[in-house]
Amino acid sequence: LHAELVKRAQRGDREAFAALAIGCVDRLHAIARLILRDADLAQDATQDALIQAWRDLPTLREVDRFDAWLHRIIVRCCTDVAKRRRRWRQSITALPVEPAAPDRTAALAERDQLENGLRRLTSAQQTILVLHFYLDLAPSELAEALDIPVGTAKSRLHYAVEALRAALAADERRPTGVVQEGRSA
């Protein structure tokens, strides 16, 4: 049924594409949200990805690779949106993250620690981590989604995990109760 919908959408059937879009929009949005870490930008990227998918669908040669092809599109849209964000927000200063309160639960502390660790990675590292650990994509699938050789995907994934591990370790070594840089006590 899925392949049939893709074929119909390739021939210009908008209803078929709408059915496909309904089935994938939440997943695309989740991927974009995790990569971009910004709700508004994730919505933009998701919308752009759906429109690009519709436009370029006739160029998809293997209909059974529709999902992998979509992943490539959403990654590309996230990259584009992130570039635009850097340009637009030059004049807007982001507020610093509030320092962790001492009575936080372990779950919240774990969340903050991982979020802080992810923020220290490059966008390429964040992207490959999301694709691998959220979508469970294998190295060959990562390579396809990112348009890079398989060896590069394996290497990038390894170094991304290692960078995150190092960031988490550095965070754990930091003594608690210290006010974040730039904040008055």
Binding site: R14, F17, A18, A21, I22, V25, D26, L28, H29, A30, R33, L34, D40, Q43, D44, A45, T46, Q47, D48, L50, I51, Q52, W54, R55, D56, L57, P58, T59, R61, C77, D80, V81, R84, R87, W88, R89, S91, I92, T93, A94, L95, P96, E110, R111, L114, L129, V130, F133, Y134, D147, H158, V161, E162, L164, R165, L168, E181, G182, R183, S184
Partner: protein, 360 residues
């Protein structure tokens, strides 16, 4: 390796917790709406490109063919579109052409890369910040003359939608997040700032003919993803007078309100007669901070208006900045120039507070 696996396990759990379950409904709806008028790309030539099945011979052949095409194109461009004949002239001799001037040709008088913030490029579009403005023609091309949508997400609880006005001469006022079946006419200048563009627009719907402004947001792919219409129907003309300046379908330019032209008078009027209050800002669309709306009077804090002013009838569009972002301020006046309504469009959801000074 164990440490890496542990990090991976923690990350996987974290991502599953953090991933939103559902996308906002407007994302899908808006995408499908755009797709309704978006054609698919259908390539005439479908060459294999970076597929696993592509053998080295095919890859090199593709590269060679592409190189030849690019080279031929470059030669054609360098020769002014005349591709040189290969192997000498055959048949009739070419038509005599004017001989080239022995004097060197003058240098170009203007560089398109240098955009004056107050210049009107292409006669249609005004760049506020260099790089913000796209080609005006492409902006117009992206807008369908008939918008097939229904008014939804009533602005401020519906108070602004087809509101009966008590103001003399104005029958109804419309603010539409989206409008159904309206026929829009867009002419004149486009004012852009960031991902937003403002068009002077007139439109006809079942409730009347409106004059006003159309605000659009353009996605990173260059597609129009949101519309917001502001307009009124009027029985006493469509212009207003501010400090002796009659506003009607014009673009006024100013730099910092100090060049003494009509826009400066508007800015001065803004300072003297128009008062704003940040606390009036409310979200037009729940959970979306792109558009905020203000109505009423108050004391301005943290707002500044510089640059160009776009006018249409009784509407003014100012590029403005506030503590919580940059965007447009669209103002509706009464015929005497008294401010009636103020709308803001910004693209930052940061709170209207200043970040703490670094270094404690």
């Amino acid at each position: 390796m164990t440490a890496q696996h542990e990090v991976g396990r923690r990350l996987a759990e974290h991502l599953r917790r953090e991933a939103p379950d559902r996308a906002p409904t407007w994302v899908l709806e808006s995408a499908l709406e755009i797709i309704e008028t978006t054609p698919q790309r259908r390539g005439l030539l479908r060459l294999p490109w970076r597929f696993p099945s592509m053998n080295p011979f095919a890859r090199y052949a593709t590269i060679a063919v592409t190189a030849v095409i690019v080279l031929a194109g470059a030669v054609a461009l360098a020769t002014g579109g005349h591709v040189p004949q290969i192997g000498g002239q055959i048949g009739a001799s070419p038509t005599p052409s004017a001989s080239p001037s022995p004097t060197p040709s003058p240098a170009p008088t203007a560089s398109p890369a240098a955009v004056d913030p107050t210049s009107v490029a292409d006669g249609l579009i005004t760049a506020w910040n260099t790089g913000d403005a796209a080609n005006a023609s492409s902006l117009y091309a992206g807008l369908a003359p008939v918008l097939d949508f229904a008014i939804d997400t009533p602005v401020d609880g519906g108070a602004f939608t087809d509101e009966a006005s008590t103001l003399a001469g104005i029958k109804t006022r419309m603010t539409a997040w989206q409008a159904g079946g309206s026929v829009l006419t867009r002419t004149g200048t486009v004012l852009t700032q960031g991902p937003y563009a403002v068009f002077p627009v007139k439109w006809t719907s079942t409730t009347g003919t409106y004059d006003g402004m159309e605000l659009i947001r353009i996605s990173t792919a260059g597609l129009v993803v949101q519309h917001l219409l502001f307009g009124v129907t009027s029985t006493t003309g469509t212009s207003a007078t501010v400090n002796g300046t009659t506003l009607i379908d014009s673009l006024l330019t100013a730099q910092n309100g100090s060049d003494g032209n009509a826009a400066s008078a508007l800015f001065a009027a803004t300072a003297k007669g128009f008062v704003f209050q940040d606390s009036m800002l409310v979200n037009v669309v729940p959970d979306k901070s792109h558009f905020v709306n203000a109505i009423g009077n108050g004391t301005a804090t943290g707002e500044s208006r510089t640059g160009n002013v776009l006018t249409q009838g009784r509407f003014l569009a100012f590029p403005f900045s506030a503590a919580n972002g940059r965007g447009f301020q669209i103002i509706e006046l009464d015929p005497t120039g008294k401010i009636q309504y103020i709308w803001h469009a910004i693209w930052s959801n940061l709170p209207a507070t200043s970040p703490p000074a670094s270094g404690g």
